[in-house]
Assembly symmetry: C2
Homo-oligomer: 245 residues x 2
C-alpha cells in the first residue's frame, strides 16, 4: 500500500542496537516527538528501526518531557536491504533537492550522492538536513534501511574515482533515438546519474559518453523535472536489474 | 534537458487560436505575469501554446498594466500529443494531489481523473485549481498539450461506465509475486489506476481483479508515496506501450 500518514503506527529511526529485551534510551527530540507530538504514553507501542536490525515493536516504559525509555518486544520486519544502487544528482533548488532525496530513499537507493556539475558548480547543500530527509522518508514509508547522503562532490571527482566494476546509467535528452532501455547491461553494482535542470555541458556529455562503464538511457520525448526524472530512471533500473520482480 | 526555471524563455498557455500573423489579446492576469512579473516589454518574445497548434514565438506589440497584445511570428514546435493514456488516482492531501497532477502532465497523461474510493469517499477537490496546475506543468516543461483534469467521480462509476476497448493497469501491493511488467498486454487506449494511500478496500480489490480489461502490476517491495507511485507506474507503461522509444 502507498504510505499513509493517517493511521500509521508510529515509526522512528534510532541509532541504537535493537534486539529482544533491549532497552532504548530516547534523545530529547525523540521524546518530544513521541510524547509531545504523537501523545504516546507508558504501555504504547512504537516501531523502531536502525538500518541494520529490521523493525522492532517496542513498548514505552518511561515517558517524560525531555526523555524516555523503550524496550524491544518482538521483531516485526526483517532488514530489507535495497540493491547496491547509487543515485547521483545535481542539486539546485532546496525544495526540489529535498524531493529527490526522499524519492531516492523510497525507490531503493543504497547511497545518495549530490554533485556539482559544470552548470551548477556554485550550488551548496546542507548534508545533515538532506540526511534527515532520507531518514524521514524511510520512517514514513515503512523502510528498515536508510540510504547514506554523501557530502557534495564535483562530478569530475566522482568519475575520476570511479570504483572498478560499478556501472553507470545516465539520462541524456540529447540522445535522439535512444531507448528507455538498459539493453544488454548487467552486474550487481550500479549508479544512476540525473543531470541538472539545464543539462550537462558539452564537455561533460562527451566525457560521459566515452566512459566504458556508462550506459545512456532516454526518459522519453517530454521534458521532466529532476525529481520526476529520478523516479523514472530508478523505475527503469529496478525493473530491468533491481528487485522489482 | 530537465525543465529549468532559470533562463527559461517565457512560456504561456492561451485559449486562443495561434497561426502566422495571428493577434493575441491578453487577459488581465496574463498581462500582469508577462509585464509585471517577468518584466517583458514591447519587442520581447514569448512562447505561446494552446494545446492544439504547437508552440509559437510571439512578439509583444502592446504592454500595459492590465492588458497587452502579442503577434504570432513563427511556429517553434509542432503539437506533440501524448499517448491516449488516462491517469486515475484518489486524492487525499492537497499538496500530494497537486504533485500527482503535475507529474501526470509531465509524464504524458492525456486525461487526469480524480476518483473517490471506498477509503476516501469524503475527499473533495478543486477541479479548477488542479487544471491550473496541469497548465503550469506544461508551461514549465516545454509542453504543447495540456491534459484535461476531470471532475471528481466515484471509482465505482468510472468502472461501471468503462469504455469498450480501453485497458486498465492498476498497481496493488497485495499481489505477492506479481511483476513490474505489462506482459502480453497491448492496445492503444489505456488507463493507469493509482490507489489511495491506505489502499483499496477488499471489495474494490476483488472487483478490480475480476475485470477482463484490468492488468495488475507490482511497483516493487518498498512502499511508495502516491506521487512516486504515479511516476513509476507511468514509466512502466510508457516504456512498454507508450512513446518512450
Amino acid at each position: 500500500m502507498y504510505c499513509s500518514m493517517k493511521d500509521a503506527k508510529v515509526r522512528l529511526y534510532v541509532e541504537h542496537p535493537l534486539g529482544e529485551g533491549q532497552t532504548i534510551p530516547l534523545e530529547r527530540d525523540q521524546a518530544h516527538y513521541l510524547f509531545g507530538v504523537m501523545r504516546l504514553g507508558v504501555g504504547d507501542a512504537v516501531a523502531l528501526f536502525n538500518g541494520r536490525d529490521g523493525e522492532w515493536r517496542c513498548g514505552v516504559v518511561e515517558a517524560g518531557k525531555r526523555k524516555g525509555v523503550l524496550v524491544c518486544e518482538a521483531q516485526t520486519k526483517p532488514l530489507q536491504m535495497p540493491p547496491d544502487l547509487w543515485l547521483i544528482f545535481a542539486p539546485i533548488k532546496k525544495a526540489r533537492t529535498d524531493f529527490i532525496v526522499e524519492k531516492a530513499a523510497e525507490m531503493g537507493a543504497a547511497r545518495i550522492m549530490p554533485v556539482q556539475t559544470d552548470f551548477t558548480n556554485s550550488e551548496r547543500i546542507r548534508q545533515d538536513r538532506l540526511q534527515a530527509h532520507a531518514v524521514e522518508a524511510a520512517e514514513q514509508c515503512g523502510g528498515t534501511f536508510v540510504p547514506e547522503v554523501a557530502d557534495l562532490q564535483k562530478l569530475d571527482r566522482v568519475l575520476a574515482d570511479w570504483p572498478e566494476g560499478r556501472q553507470l546509467m545516465f539520462c541524456d535528452e540529447a540522445e535522439v533515438g535512444s531507448a528507455a532501455r538498459l539493453g544488454a547491461a548487467s552486474g550487481d553494482q550500479w549508479a544512476i546519474l540525473i543531470g541538472p535542470e539545464g543539462g550537462f555541458s558539452p564537455d561533460e556529455r562527451a566525457r560521459l559518453k566515452s566512459l566504458p562503464f556508462a550506459h545512456v538511457v532516454s526518459l522519453g520525448p517530454r521534458i521532466l523535472r529532476a525529481d520526476t526524472a529520478a523516479v523514472a530512471a530508478m523505475t527503469i533500473w529496478q525493473q530491468a536489474l533491481g528487485d522489482w520482480g
